[in-house]
């Protein structure tokens, strides 16, 4: 950590604006964890920028005492890319939701991820459009009854992490709004990754889609429905840690540890080059499987903005720094005398 930096507390990151999410919204928890994690990054407040799109989650920047931009629907990754490419010295977060990132902004999300711009994209997934008062979203289950789908939605839902992995993501993770310790640790990992980090946070909208994630948040059931991924560790889950995940061919299966050797379980490796196992994990949905949370994939690839800088440096080293007069006079010229 830079020794000249003052030691910051979570409260130093709050702005003077009143937080206006609905009481009980999962967003409060994410905001609190973000404020708690930022001091650990050792980045001065003025070097932090939060960029958001449109939606409930996208009000986030107003509540942070950092630089911030509340932009337009779906485009936050594009604004953030332009900012990060020109200002690699800044630490840039993108705050988005399932509608913002995957519906209207799907194109930008995909391209930002494949370029590997060093952004931390935190997608609050509540499987509903909250700010427009309750229409189904790209992650709503088929058959979801909402104001715009009174007899059930027909759209097949997207798996956000499958989308990110399909777009060649170098860092993919998932956490849960009310699992505060895990959420904080996941946000920290995302911020520390060099390259685009994509984090899906299961977030409860207690007004329009209450309980969408109750199977992973209810005290009684959450341990049986959640698989906490830990690098290098076998995939064991359950309240009594008596179940595991094994690969049968290419298909994962739930096994009982009473009749299965731990060594036969799938061991999590977030650093493999191939995204295949991470993709398989991203396809594990409730209720067939416990839902994996944690870091699915974390691999190294040069960031976009670093390569932009390197191209410029290499050309300046070989051709010299550009000179306007030389440029103007390049090619064929002629002189008219008095």
């Amino acid at each position: 950590m830079n020794p000249t930096l003052p030691v910051l507390k979570a409260s130093d990151f709050g702005s003077d604006q009143d937080v206006r999410w609905c009481p009980g919204c999962g967003d409060y928890s994410i905001l609190a964890q973000m404020k708690k994690v930022l001091p650990e990054l050792g980045v001065a407040r003025e070097n932090l920028v939060f960029v958001s799109g449109i939606g409930c989650s996208s009000r986030f920047p107003y509540y942070m005492n950092t630089y911030g931009m509340h932009s337009i629907h779906g485009r936050a990754p594009a604004f953030a890319s332009g900012l990060k490419i020109t200002r690699p010295d800044l630490t840039v977060f993108v705050i988005t939701g399932d509608g913002d990132a995957l519906s209207i902004g799907g194109n930008h999300l995909m391209h930002c991820i494949r370029r590997n711009v060093d952004l931390n994209i935190i997608m609050f997934n509540n499987s509903i459009y909250g700010l427009t008062k309750g229409q189904y979203s790209p992650t709503s289950p088929q058959g979801h009854v909402t104001k715009s789908t009174p007899v059930g939605s027909l759209d097949f839902p997207l798996s956000p992490l499958s989308v990110a992995l399909g777009a060649e993501a170098t860092f993919v993770a998932r956490s849960i709004d009310f699992n505060t310790k895990h959420l904080g640790a996941t946000l920290l990992r995302a911020a520390q990754h060099k390259g685009t980090s994509f984090v899906e946070v299961f977030q409860n909208c207690n007004v329009f889609n209450d309980g969408a994630w109750s199977y992973v948040t209810d005290r009684g059931t959450k341990d049986d429905h959640t698989l906490v991924l830990e690098h290098g560790q076998p995939m064991i889950f359950g309240k009594d840690r008596d179940k595991g995940i094994r690969l049968n061919g290419l298909i994962p299966e739930v096994v009982n540890l009473s009749d299965t050797n731990v060594d036969d379980l799938l061991f999590h490796n977030e650093q493999t080059d191939s995204p295949h196992v991470a993709f398989t994990l991203s396809r594990m949905h409730h209720p067939e499987y416990p839902v994996p949370i944690g870091v699915f994939r974390s691999v190294e690839r040069p960031t976009y903005e670093k390569q932009v800088g390197e191209q410029i440096e290499a050309i300046q080293a070989s051709k010299g720094v550009g000179d306007l007069q030389q440029l103007f006079k390049s090619g064929e010229t002629w002189t008219v005398s008095e």
């Binding site: 003025e46 939060f50 931009m69 337009i72 485009r75 900012l83 800044l90 007069q325 010229t333 008219v336």
Partner: protein, 628 residues
């Protein structure tokens, strides 16, 4: 010097006629190399000291079916010993490489003009491809012209025979044969083209040699044939002293942006998505990484502008370039830049619309789109370039306004300016105007920091991330005056709407008055904007030379208008507004000044011809629509 390969005897002495200028059009298949031929003729004429102006005209298809009318690609150039403002109207000579090129262009050739055709490509098959039942060379269509039939294909093959090229390769040299002939006809030097051949084909010596031989063979053919009564000469123009180069519109715009970036000390970030006819700016600026330029080919038009806005937030010179359809997609982003009051440039190289329209043809029909085409009350300054070289200045002025007033600025150009070329007097880089830009630091700002506190012209401070103690949040929701916090207060919204409008209106304090070319009062004022500048200037000067009381006012800023414009308009009995649209500036002028301006409008994908303007203005002078 390459020796003659045509094997002809001593050249015949020929009389040489001196002309004030000439307009030549080269027309052939889009794969025939007509654009190359035209560029070479332009550069060579410019190097000979002529004033030049060009009009490349090509199809949207990369290779439309060979020999068809749709596939005809043309390049028109006027070179002159006097100052010119347009690529010319009527053609003095037309080179037609096939029947389709002949039939689609011959009506622009002046009576007694020279028509040079490649006789080898007038076979039954060629005629059928051009949908012609009769060979036009056998009809009275060509009666008014001096027709010179040359078997260019066979002569070119003969010229390169010894080099052992395939027929296909040999035929590709045909444009150099035509070039040699045109250069002979207008007494142009072969040297610049020989240098070009060396630079372009130097790595393939047999192709370089073939093109050199074809070029020389064309020249030699002119010298030996008896079909031409004389050759022509166009003396150097009396241009202002200085060193010149030829420059195309999109190139000048790119260099203007680069210069603005250097003069303001702000790194240039271009977010762009490929679109005709704007892509050349992306290509051009991508070459200047050694100047620190960052070009970003975004995933779409929206990401292109949004990334530029992100760069602007960070303190860079954010620029996005496009054409009409792409500009439509950028409008929501532009609204955000207006709301956040960040400086940036949006560049619209207009083309024929609506929708995909005529991608490679020119039009001025985006004016109302760029002025009004956003939700809410969302004014921005709008400026328009008038000629290829003017793009260099416009880019710098626009950036100066954008940074002084903290606002996005729209620059309009069009396909005609973008691809046209003219001589450009090379400026002394050290004497270019600096563009001062200031980012506040926390030392000079009283806390709490007010990101929407305004200066005398209503600009807010450009505080950038990384500056301690000036952290603030901006966005699309309405801002409270001063603090920039979200506000839904009714009076605040009224106040902020008025303030944003007044800020843009304040641009008029920086841009100077509208100037008039011609008498201070009179019978007719021609009011123009953008790429019609050249044709309107030429037409008004011609009419004044005939003794008419005609003046010309060209608008560089379309929003806001110069402060004195209303007064200028009232000094003339009639105001006519020629536009390549259906009357967009006219609508603005009439609503703003209640002046009953007359329109002269055309949307044919082509620029105005001087003669059609002169005709219309003459008729207004003799039969006024409005009596004073």
């Amino acid at each position: 010097m390459v020796t003659s390969t045509t094997g002809n005897a001593e050249p015949q002495p020929r009389p040489m006629e001196t002309l004030p200028g000439a307009t030549v059009r080269l027309a052939g298949d889009s794969g025939d190399g007509m654009q190359l031929l035209g560029t070479q003729l332009t550069n060579t004429s410019a190097l000979a000291g002529n004033d030049v102006a060009t009009f490349p005209d090509f199809p949207a298809e990369i290779r439309a079916p060979r020999g068809t009318r749709a596939g005809v690609s043309g390049f028109q150039v006027q070179f002159a010993s006097e100052e010119i403002f347009t690529p010319g109207d009527g053609l003095d000579s037309l080179i037609a490489m096939n029947p389709a090129a002949l039939i689609t262009n011959v009506s622009d050739l002046k009576p007694s003009g020279i028509l040079i055709v490649n006789e080898d490509s007038f076979t039954e098959k060629d005629l059928k491809l051009a949908k012609l039942e009769q060979n036009p060379l056998a009809t009275d269509l060509i009666e008014p012209y001096r027709v010179i039939r040359i078997p260019m294909t066979s002569l070119t093959r003969g010229a390169v025979e010894a080099l052992g090229l395939s027929t296909k390769e040999a035929d590709r040299c045909r444009n150099f044969f035509a070039m040699g002939l045109v250069f002979w006809l207008y007494s142009r030097s072969l040297e610049p083209t020989q240098r070009f051949i060396e630079a372009k084909f130097g790595k393939k010596p047999e192709l370089a040699e073939a093109n050199r031989r074809a070029l020389q063979a064309g020249w030699n053919y002119g010298e030996t044939t008896e079909e031409f009564a004389s050759t022509y000469q166009v003396n150097p123009a009396k241009l202002e002293p200085g060193t010149y180069r030829n420059i195309m519109g999109n190139q000048a715009l790119s260099w203007g942006l680069l210069t603005a970036s250097q003069q303001s000390g702000k790194p240039l970030f271009l977010g762009s998505y490929p679109i005709t006819p704007a892509s050349d700016i992306l290509h051009e600026l991508s070459k200047y990484k050694n100047f620190g330029v960052q070009t970003f080919q975004a995933e779409d038009e929206i990401a292109a502008i949004c990334s530029a806005i992100g760069a602007a937030f960070g303190g860079s010179m954010g620029v996005t370039t496009s054409s009409g359809p792409g500009i439509a997609l950028k409008m929501e982003g532009l609204g955000l830049a207006i709301m956040m009051e960040l400086p940036m440039l949006v560049i619209d190289i207009q083309r024929g619309g609506p929708s995909t329209g005529l991608p490679t043809k020119t039009e001025q029909s985006d004016l109302l789109q760029v002025i009004f085409g956003r939700n809410g009350e969302s004014p921005i300054p709008v400026t328009a370039a008038r000629s290829p070289s003017d793009c260099f200045d416009v880019a710098q002025e626009a950036w100066e306004i954008a940074t002084r007033l903290m606002t996005p600025v729209m620059i309009l150009s069009d396909g005609y300016i973008a691809n046209g070329a003219e001589p450009w007097k090379i400026p002394d880089a050290s004497s270019l105007k600096p563009i001062p830009v200031h980012h506040p630091s926390s030392d000079e700002i009283d806390q709490p920091f007010l990101p929407y506190q305004r200066d005398d012209l209503l600009a807010r401070p450009w505080a950038i991330p990384g500056t301690p103690n000036l952290m603030h949040r901006i966005g699309g929701l309405e801002k409270e005056d001063g603090t920039g916090n979200v506000s839904y207060d009714p009076d605040n919204h009224q106040h902020m709407t008025n303030t944003r409008a007044q800020k843009v209106a304040n641009v008029a304090k920086l841009i100077g008055d509208a100037e008039v070319d011609g008498p201070e009062t009179g019978d007719l004022l021609i009011l123009s904007w953008g790429g019609t500048y050249g044709a309107c200037t030429t037409a008004s000067r011609q009419l004044r030379a005939e003794g008419s009381e005609v003046a010309h006012c060209h608008l560089r800023w379309l929003n806001p208008f110069p402060a004195n414009l209303g007064e200028v308009l009232r000094r003339y009995n009639q105001v006519v507004i020629p536009e390549l649209n259906c009357g967009q500036l006219r609508m603005l002028i009439r609503s703003r000044y209640l002046v009953d301006a007359i329109g002269f409008n055309k949307v044919k994908g082509k620029p105005f011809a001087v003669r059609e303007l002169v005709e219309r203005f003459r008729s207004l002078l003799s039969n006024p629509v409005h009596q004073s």
